[in-house]
């Protein structure tokens, strides 16, 4: 076994030496896969054709008989593909509408033709019309340490209706466009009990899972087109009406690029990171907003999670004709979304930019399996997006900051979760395409973010930041699973809080990530009753009580609490008395009901469960508090304003 390991390391290093460092000083990842692509964009046929040389290193101890490749573009081949069956609709009837990828030649390093050994498979649903996964039986099985090299000539037709990828007029966003290795998972990696390829089909609601790779990409295209990609520009050579650009990208999980003559290019810098923004020329007024938001995200994640390791970053604000490409991430390239005029109080473009950039961390560096655990990238990333937005754009105004209406980003996520009628339909731990009744977005984005905020409320912000710093330290440029994340939480919480929350935090994840229950705590009553004087034959021996009972102002006050939901979380309870005293109680939240009782010369005026609103999972904040002196003034004010504005509305609308 040791010999094998040594062999693997030697062979890997030999192979890696073929790919010298250009972008970073040293490799950031294992680089199990790598790609050299030399392609040409045909603007008339809307195709990208060319050659690819790629390698996969068998770092496992298994003998692997085959390789598996994603051919994502085949999802646009017909309305019978898995993506369109799940999504409904059709890519279109015309040839120009369709997207596909054809393999013209496929050989190994010895030149052996592998086309007869190719087979389209559908590991997820058995759909024979879906050609998004290709299995190739190797002439000789790959032994531990072997490097499988393939040479492929392919033609990719881009679809006209952009869904992340495609073209519109002379706008191109070219993603999921080349044959791409799946991830070989040996036994013990993530949830694998035995070695095998993890290579899922292209689904309507799933994203991707890949090894960190090195990309050397040459693209020949019309000289008029401005190009952006996730790589670093190495060279650009013009040849008549055409030009050839060469890019190098290291340790990223996907390579995408865009080309359009209408782009304006903006450059900026944050520390050592060169930032490039491509956006339509008529949106130049939005450039400042976009660039400052990405720098906020860089700063915040660098400070609280870990460093952004690449010296370059490109992001694209696609034109309206390419809006379908907006809001997607390819690690060092991502797409945002805005328009010619967005009111300054509305922070949606900034939010999209912060979110998509955040994916450079959550699935870019921490390369989880988006097919199988979408919460681990989308949910975790949404959590950080909300923290960044509310930090830089106002605690109550991260999303909307108008003097008439303020709305924080975290509130937006919570409202989405709280108001969803399907919030208890399934657990948060499903394969992305298994979320029923359209719950994928709410469950994987919002619910996850909300229980992460809740976790932060329980363990504290600094501990939460340390959880992510440790998660980054252990798992950056690897493939963490949800279980790995939970282990990090357990270790950090145990280290910082001892046994305060029990031996581990599994009780939390069992209820939130793996459970379907809701959290709802309620103040059901406030009782202030006068202590009655002992009458009749009583054995009361409490002298103090006898002394109190001689007055009329002794009260027994009770705060009556209920756990309405299934989820049991520890909560703070703040009780305020009429003499100004306040008591902060801690309730473990396990019982169905709980009374806090006090004897003394004071009455309870109000009770608040979770007074600082830390438990974002609580689906009803209205019943979290109760007062004996309710203030109706805010509601009356709102009603008055509704009346006035209705009067003005009628007066304006009616002649």
């Amino acid at each position: 076994m040791k010999i094998r390991l040594v062999l693997i390391i030697i062979l890997s290093n030999v192979f890696l030496s073929l790919y010298p460092q250009i972008v970073n000083l040293k490799p950031l990842s294992e680089r199990i896969t790598g790609y050299k692509l030399d392609v040409r964009l045909n603007p008339d046929k809307k195709t990208v054709t060319g050659d690819m040389q790629a390698f996969w290193v068998n770092r496992s101890a298994d003998t692997v008989p085959d390789i598996r490749l994603h051919l994502y573009m085949n999802a646009f081949r017909s309305n019978r593909t898995t993506m369109y069956r799940e999504m409904g609709g059709s890519p279109g009837n015309d040839e120009k509408d369709l997207g596909w990828i054809e393999i013209n030649s496929f050989s190994d390093k010895n030149g052996a033709d592998l086309i007869p050994r190719m087979q389209y498979i559908s590991p997820d649903d058995g759909n024979r019309d879906d050609r998004t996964v290709l299995r190739v039986l190797l002439p000789q099985p790959a032994m531990p340490g072997d490097t499988v090299i393939i040479n492929v000539n392919f033609e990719t037709k881009l679809p006209s209706r952009i869904r992340r990828t495609g073209y519109s007029g002379d706008f191109y966003f070219v993603a999921q466009w080349f044959p791409k290795f799946g991830v070989y998972e040996p036994a013990g990696m993530r949830y694998a009990s035995k070695g095998g390829w993890n290579c899922h089909q292209f689904h309507a609601t799933s994203e991707f899972y890949s090894n960190h790779s090195v990309y050397d990409v040459r693209i020949t295209l019309p000289a008029s087109h401005v190009v952006g990609s996730g790589g670093m520009l190495i060279s650009e050579k013009a040849d008549g009406n055409m030009k050839t650009v060469t890019y190098r990208a290291e340790d990223i999980v996907d390579f995408a690029w865009t080309a359009w003559p209408g782009y304006a290019v903006f450059n900026d810098k944050w520390k050592n990171v060169n930032i490039t923004l491509l956006m339509p020329k008529d949106r130049v007024k939005q450039a400042g907003r976009q660039l400052s938001s990405v720098k906020h995200a860089l700063e915040y994640l660098d400070m609280n999670v870990g460093p952004y390791p690449w010296p370059h970053l490109t992001f694209v604000d696609p034109p309206n004709i390419g809006a379908g490409a907006g809001g997607m991430e390819y690690t060092t390239l991502f797409t945002s979304s805005s328009s010619y005029f967005v009111p300054p109080f509305f922070h949606m473009p900034e939010m999209v930019t912060v979110h998509e950039f955040g994916h450079a961390y959550f699935m870019g560096m921490l390369a989880s399996n988006e097919f199988e655990e979408p919460w681990l990238d989308e949910g975790v990333n949404s959590y950080w997006e909300e923290k960044i937005m509310d930090t830089y754009y106002g605690n109550n105004s991260g999303l909307i900051d108008h003097r008439f209406l303020k709305f924080s980003d975290v509130s937006s996520a919570r409202v989405s979760y709280v108001t969803s009628p399907s919030r208890q339909l399934v657990s948060n731990n499903e394969y992305s395409w298994n979320y029923p009744h359209g719950t994928y977005g709410m469950m994987s984005y919002q619910k996850t973010a909300i229980w992460l905020h809740t976790l932060e409320g329980i363990i504290g912000t600094e501990t939460m930041n340390n959880v992510f710093r440790e998660y980054y330290r252990r798992w950056a440029f690897k493939h963490p699973s949800g279980r790995d994340f939970i282990n990090v939480v357990n270790d950090v919480v145990r280290k910082e809080h001892g046994q305060e929350f029990g031996p581990d935090m599994n009780w939390f994840f069992d209820q939130t990530l793996y459970g379907t229950g809701i959290c709802d705590y309620k103040v059901s009553g406030i009782v202030n009753s006068k202590y009655s004087k002992p009458e009749g034959k009583t054995d009361t021996a409490d002298a103090e009580v006898r002394a109190w009972s001689s007055t009329d102002s002794l009260y027994i006050s009770k705060a009556q609490l209920e756990r309405v939901g299934e989820v049991k979380l520890p909560v703070d309870v703040l009780i305020h008395f009429d003499n100004g005293d306040e008591v902060l109680e801690r309730w473990d939240g396990k019982e169905r009901y709980k009374d806090f009782e006090y004897k003394g010369y004071k009455q309870i005026v109000w009770v608040k469960i979770d007074p600082e609103y830390k438990i974002k999972m609580d689906v009803d904040y209205v019943n979290n508090s109760m007062t004996t002196e309710p203030s109706k003034a805010p509601l009356h004010r709102i009603a008055n304003k509704i009346m006035t504005f209705t009067q003005f509305f009628l007066s304006i609308m009616l002649l």
């Binding site: 209406l405 006035t644 009616l654």
Partner: protein, 298 residues
């Protein structure tokens, strides 16, 4: 001369019609109260003794409302249904009351009692309702063709840039806003004519409305722009004052109610000034026409 004279006499006639304006305010107040009072009760019941209302101290808090769950959905459905009902009832009521206002601001020193006012309202209600319906329909069709259709075309186009879309919408909106005073002039002249000529039918009044609007277009349009400007200034004041005013005590809320109702009465005054000025302008046009005919006869 015509503009300032019409505005001046219109203003004086409006002052004389202050009792009628207060009657209009009271009727609209009662109508809206029928909608808002149950809404207020629903809100106070839904929030109960919760202290979440403290979050509303800084304005509308979406989270506080959505946390009401099913109660929020009930309140929203009541709100939308109530608003629609109020609008429809308001349309009828406005046609009714406007007939009284136009009758009241027809000439100098018409001080009418409430029974006289309601008599004028009832006398011309049908014709005013028809005029309002037709002019509203014309405005709706204009909105459809000037704003909705261009917006749909540019948003569906693959070749129109963001900026072009924005500019198209700004131009469309501007054209519509420039057209709006014309439609208001037609509506006001029609109603002023009908108020002055009880025997005229609604359709002939609309015909006269178009005739008056275009026979003296420049003065009429400029006067209407000035009157609209006065209403816009009031609108800006209202938007600056009311949304940001967030009293937290019962006394403060009552003061807000008083101030907002005074502003609404001012709004009614300005609207009545519009009616009166257009009526005055119509009188001048008619007088001019009469003088011309007299001269021709001489």
């Amino acid at each position: 001369m015509k503009i300032s004279g019409s505005l001046r006499s219109g203003f004086m006639w409006t002052l004389n019609a202050k009792n009628s304006i207060l009657i209009v305010w009271f009727c609209i107040f009662i109508l809206v109260l029928v909608f808002v009072f149950p809404l207020r009760r629903s809100l106070t019941t839904a929030f109960g003794a919760s202290m979440i209302t403290g979050k509303l101290a800084d304005g509308i808090n979406i989270e506080a409302f959505t946390d009401l769950g099913p109660a929020f959905k009930s309140i929203m459905s009541f709100f939308t249904a109530g608003l629609m009902f109020t609008f429809l009832a308001g349309f009828l009521l406005n046609s009714f009351l406007t007939a009284g206002l136009f009758g009241n601001v027809r000439k100098d020193s018409v001080k009418c009692s409430s029974s006289e006012f309601f008599g004028m309202c009832a006398g011309n209600f049908g014709a005013f309702l028809l005029i309002s319906l037709l002019i509203t329909l014309i405005i709706g069709i204009a909105f459809l063709f000037i704003i909705v259709v261009p917006a749909a075309i540019v948003s569906l186009s693959e070749t129109v840039s963001d900026k072009s879309q924005f500019v198209t919408m700004v131009i469309a909106g501007s054209v519509f806003l420039l057209l709006l005073p014309v439609m208001l002039l037609v509506a006001d002249y029609s109603r002023a004519f009908k108020a002055a000529n009880e025997d005229a039918s609604a359709f002939s009044a609309i015909g006269k409305g178009f005739s008056f609007a275009f026979s003296n277009f420049r003065e009429s349009y400029m006067m209407m722009l000035l009157l609209i400007l006065a209403q816009v200034i009031l609108g800006v004041i209202v938007m600056l004052l009311l949304p940001g005013w967030r009293p937290v005590t019962g006394g403060g809320v009552f003061l807000l109610l008083i101030v907002s109702q005074l502003l609404f009465i001012l709004r009614l005054f300005l609207k009545t000034w519009r009616y009166a000025s257009v009526t005055s302008m119509m009188n001048e046009i008619e007088a001019g026409n009469t003088r011309t005919i007299d001269k021709m006869e001489l």
